[in-house]
Symmetry: C2
Subunit: 143 residues, 2 copies
């Protein structure tokens, strides 16, 4: 059960706002479970409809993620505006490299551009179960 | 088993470099497992010796993390220098709010300053099992 923190100053974002933020950014982090231990990796991602997708080489993400629950997150805090937000995608990872299901087709409609070096010929996608977000704006610094 | 990606252009960082990067930054992300589903939350953290610590309110992190495996990650990519890196702390979460063990004492030696609003009276710490990092530097853009 997801138990929200007791906090009236955090505004919950609607899914359409979350998707808008996902479309506007390129770098996020994926959490994958490996033998009971969560790991987090930064990834450059793309988004097509509600499907977050990224490219990957052979390795931990490809070995452990497909068919498993994963989390994907983006966030930002801008000191100039004092606005912070985060978006969290929960779902099942899908190896969308060549699969013919709807999620994989949709995923291949996005074009993530990995910045990190390496040959990343595989395509991963997330079949979302929940897309949530939070935002806060701090009052002006009294100092 | 952690299976590194086939990639000769990513430099593995030594633990002391990882700790130096952890000391130089303040915003990271924690991955917590809730009923088999990983979740990721941004947190402002502090670090004392090898112990990453952050403050939290009553909620998901406090309910699910203590005693469980968690991941903590920081990363950066600077387009100006074309250098990117990430640091990953794997370990067990500890509720260090009032506990008297070594990890909790060490954790309370750091002073994380949460930017997000809310009363965060609890202190969480990570007893690290592995601290790893990777860095890459891209060649100048041929374009």
């Amino acid at each position: 059960m997801y138990e929200p923190e007791m906090n009236t100053d955090l505004e919950e974002l609607q899914e359409d706002e979350c998707l808008q933020l996902l479309h506007q950014h390129h770098l996020g982090r994926i959490a994958v479970l490996v033998d009971g231990q969560p790991l987090i990796f930064p990834v450059n991602y793309g988004v097509s409809h509600r499907i977050v997708t990224f490219r990957t080489a052979h390795g931990t993400k490809l070995s452990y993620a497909p068919g498993s629950h994963v989390a994907f997150e983006i966030d930002e805090y801008a000191p100039s505006t004092r606005v912070g937000w985060s978006v969290l995608v929960q779902g099942l990872a899908v190896d969308a490299t060549t699969a013919l299901d709807d999620i994989s087709w949709t995923a291949r409609g996005a074009t993530p551009h990995p910045v990190a070096p390496g040959v990343k010929i595989h395509r991963m996608a997330i079949r979302p179960t929940q897309i949530t977000g939070r935002r806060f704006k701090l009052a002006a610094d009294p100092g």
